[in-house]
Symmetry: C2
Subunit: 238 residues, 2 copies
Amino acid sequence: MNKYETIADLLKQRIRQNLYPVGSFLPSQSELASEFDVSRMTINKAINILTMEGFVSPQRGFGTKILNRPFWNNDVSPVDQYNGLTSEMARYHRDVESKIINFDVAFPDSDEQAHLSLTAQQPIYRIIRLRLVNKEPYILEHTIMPVDLIPNLTDEILHHSIYAYLQDELGLQIAGAYRNIQAVKPDALDLQYLNCKPDDPVLEVAQMVYLKNGQPFEYSHSRNRYDKRSFTELSLRK
Amino acid sequence: MNKYETIADLLKQRIRQNLYPVGSFLPSQSELASEFDVSRMTINKAINILTMEGFVSPQRGFGTKILNRPFWNNDVSPVDQYNGLTSEMARYHRDVESKIINFDVAFPDSDEQAHLSLTAQQPIYRIIRLRLVNKEPYILEHTIMPVDLIPNLTDEILHHSIYAYLQDELGLQIAGAYRNIQAVKPDALDLQYLNCKPDDPVLEVAQMVYLKNGQPFEYSHSRNRYDKRSFTELSLRK
DNA sequence: CAGTGGTCTAGACCACTTC
DNA sequence: AAGTGGTCTAGACCACTGT
């Protein structure tokens, strides 16, 4: 672990333990540098992390104030999450099951080619999975992935976590994702599998996920039951 | 302007101009350091910005690859936006009007006290505004703000931009915001003012906005017409 | 004014990738 | 082995805040 991440974690811990109470100020960067026996740049980097995560607000010439961390409850999924539902829910000790609605291979249409940077000759998987949490339907996921990147996708994997397979078995490194979130009306599949009523809204999250080498490898639309999922986000002035 | 921000902007410009084509690699950090006559740390900081904004993906021991930024033609993602609707829409040359549905002062209930860190004796504004873009209803905003932070709120201000008033007139500095996004069913006010049908979904964004000194100053729920607004977001592996 | 955080440097070592 | 990005240092200067 890096020094600055280690120190950031330690500072967070102190804040949570009220060793640095909300509303008070952190020791100055120079003091912290002496305490941890590192250069001030390293402390600065650590405090940057705390700032990005909303723990503190530094004001130049003044000090670094400990903020009151919002009490949005954690049962909502952070928007900046792309570990897949399985690991997300594991944190709350909930069972995730996947029911495969559709799984086949096809050539991409032009829209899919554009989104995944593919030629018309590179086949894709077309997957529709229903994700159940504690036996209740949560999400209907429409996923498209290029076959050549993920050679041996099986029913077995689809029943568990695609992401775990990608990262642990194939060693693919995810760089990030683009998402678009909107409210939509339910379609026939939603009615059938999410078990929602015609006037229930659906929260649709479209996302493209990228590998570190820049290759997009997943283009998906997840349709979430409106009473089961919401998304939280923290955004900060640059 | 800082050196690292200046350099980051310049690099972005080169990427957009295809001087560094998508799929190719940036010059190494040492080369860039010589070119701009700065230390490598400064280049590193600049490239960090590009990484956070999804322009490039550095891989240690290898190089920094220029990514394809898909339908991301505009500079800022609406999700990490807290400048208010007025400035957001101004970029697209659209008219924003505000119709005041409700504007009064009251003592906060316990929920409001908690969210805004107030006592029962500190009054708040309760504001409901309908935001119209090019004469069409887009958003119904329910906003709560402490009176003592924003002393002289007038109809005049509410008809334009609250945010512009806060920042330009009062000099309040916004640190960031927490948001929660979900799909909901329309309520009576939505039907009346957003002009939506009973089975139209509504995209609800609840947010708390914080000042740099840590004081929360706005707690709001905006209810967006589902066919008019969606939210985009870029998220990256740490 | 003294103290704070923000930036920047010149150089160093390390982890990693490709050859 | 050579080259890359990631981290870290010791010190410096600056912009800003409080008094």
